[in-house]
């Protein structure tokens, strides 16, 4: 019972999803649904005086480690930017409140701790820099 139909459907769907995934991975989005506010008490860490990059990582995520290293290196000489990396699984309440569904997800917070954008997936250095520049 040979049939090329199931594999054709699977291949088409996966290819479409793959391009969507590639296109969206790491892109910084403003989005109306965001605007969550986070406090220093909630994060247990001081916020950046201008920008805080709040990253959610998990154990089963290869790009999380690379994203953490890239963000750390990118903001190394920026005094007004802070990077916080949290394990998503052990911060589930926060994850639920912030509607984080996959890792890495990086929230861009302004000086008040208000989310002004987020990157789902691994952002590039240029994407990180432009996101930081966009925060007043």
């Amino acid at each position: 019972m040979k049939s090329f139909l199931p594999i054709s459907i699977a291949l088409l769907a996966a290819t479409g999803f793959g391009f969507w995934y590639r296109f969206n991975s790491g892109r910084i989005k403003g989005g109306k649904s965001h605007g969550h506010r986070l406090s220093e008490r909630e994060l247990n860490k001081p916020l950046g005086s201008r920008v805080t990059l709040l990253q959610f990582s998990s154990a089963f995520c290869t790009p999380c480690r690379a994203t953490k290293a890239l963000i750390s290196a990118t903001i190394e000489n920026m005094d007004d930017v802070v990077h916080i990396d949290l394990d998503a699984e052990s911060n589930l309440d926060l994850v639920n409140r912030l509607e984080v569904t996959s890792t890495p997800t990086t929230l861009i917070l302004n000086r008040k701790g208000i989310e002004v954008g987020r990157a789902v997936g691994a952002p590039s250095k240029a994407q990180i820099l432009s996101a930081i520049d966009a925060v007043k």
């Binding site: 019972m1 793959g18 998990s58």
Partner: protein, 139 residues
Amino acid sequence: MTISIDARGPRFSATLTTIVLAIALITHNVWVLAFQGFIFAIGAIRGPQKTPYAWIFKKFVKPKLTGPEITEDVRPPQFAQRVGLGFAIVGLIGGFTELHLLFQVATSFAFAAAFLNSAFDFCLGCFIYLRLVRLSKVA
């Protein structure tokens, strides 16, 4: 202590997995899926670096690669092997009980995941793990 492995290994294995699952889907052969299920089981239990595919990679492919070795935590590809095993088991149940659609759907999902990993460097654990954790908490 987490183990690090050559990140190119799982991607090579995903390519072989894609081919094997494509054969299983096209020929509707339960035994081909059973073979891949056995490979998934080794990867899920002992680690993706212990499968026959990983052995082929180490023995024949890696010596020919010239680029710098990039390592990754073993847990994400092992998680993907577990998901693959889950689909394979469901597909095998479908295959052995003559539920052809179940066999085709489950094998298609496993095939799609392996293809995405191989062609797009898709990280399955990143995409579904947190969703699963959130779902299990709700349930």
